[in-house]
Amino acid sequence: MLTEILVSLFLLIGCGFMLIAALGLVRMPDLPMRLHATTKAGALGAGLMVIAVGLYFFGDVGVAARSAAIIIFIVLTAPIAAHLIGRAGYFVGVPMWSETVKDELKGQYDTHEQVLLSPAKGDKDAEEQSDRS
């Protein structure tokens, strides 16, 4: 009975986060923020649901190992996907929300030399950088 309660808890909370991620995906005003929602809430939700499975079959090592593997895989891949999509979206100029307060990445992509500049350093460094690469 306790297991059932625990399992239900994890399952429903997981589902909840999943729903939040989906809601965020719909409601958030621009691409990076949608990514925020899906990456974190999505991963967390899926993770919790998988943990629920692990708990339900408590003692079954096969299930435990697989549940763990799934969670690890999600944790490994979700941020990379988010990073790649976010980067791509930013690069091609998918518009950001109008109330975005700051953009330090702006203008840092040098498509001619194919480098991403760092803001702290000046143009000279950028040239050096491009020489090196």
Binding site: G16, F17, I20, L23, G24, R27, M28, P29, D30, P32, M33, L35, H36, A37, T39, K40, A41, A43, L44, V61, G62, A64, A65, V75, L76, A78, P79, I80, A82, H83, G86, R87, Y90, M96, W97, E99, T100, V101, K102, D103, E104, L105, K106, Q108, V115, L116, L117, S118, P119, A120, K121, D125, Q129, S133
Partner: protein, 158 residues
């Protein structure tokens, strides 16, 4: 870190051999026992000392990270669920302490997994991580928490 880990796994396997039970649970038990052995018996060997010191830190970091994850998820959830948006988003350049590719990658991914922040890209000179933040009311505060996160991660990694 890898050699001691291999030793630890080996010890686990030996344990399995001793007990004659080849199941996952038994391996886990063997590895825990092996860790204990390493932590106490071989404390004097620097590599093992480092290893034994790190394992609790790593476990502590995972705990910390999961807590962070849940906490800030709630924040996002609140924002998502309520009709008005409270975000002040922006992209900031975060100067990296992490040096190697692996460190940078892990830090960047951890940052992405922590709500409110999302790693967009690393500058070509690897000095800066561009991060999209959702709540930039207090940039200093954001930077500080990011730096703390990086610190705790590097602590495990180095």
């Amino acid at each position: 870190m890898s050699t001691p880990l291999a030793w630890n796994i080996l010890l686990g396997l030996i344990w399995m051999g001793f007990t004659g039970s080849f199941t996952g649970t038994n391996l886990l038990i063997g590895m825990v026992l092996g860790y204990v052995v390493l932590a106490f018996a071989l404390r004097s060997v620097p590599a093992f000392a480092n290893y034994t010191r790190k394992v609790p830190k790593a476990i502590g970091f995972v705990g910390f990270f999961i807590w962070e994850l849940i906490l800030s998820n709630v924040k996002v959830a609140y924002d998502v669920l309520t009709p008005t948006h409270y975000m002040h988003p922006g992209v900031i350049a975060f100067p990296l302490e992490a040096k190697t590719d692996a460190e940078i990658t892990i830090v960047a991914n951890l940052i992405s997994l922590t709500p409110g922040t999302l790693s967009l890209d690393v500058s070509s000179d690897r000095s800066v991580l561009y991060i999209h933040c959702m709540y930039l009311e207090d940039e200093e505060e954001v930077m500080r928490s990011l730096r703390y996160m990086e610190f705790r991660a590097l602590e495990v990694l180095r």
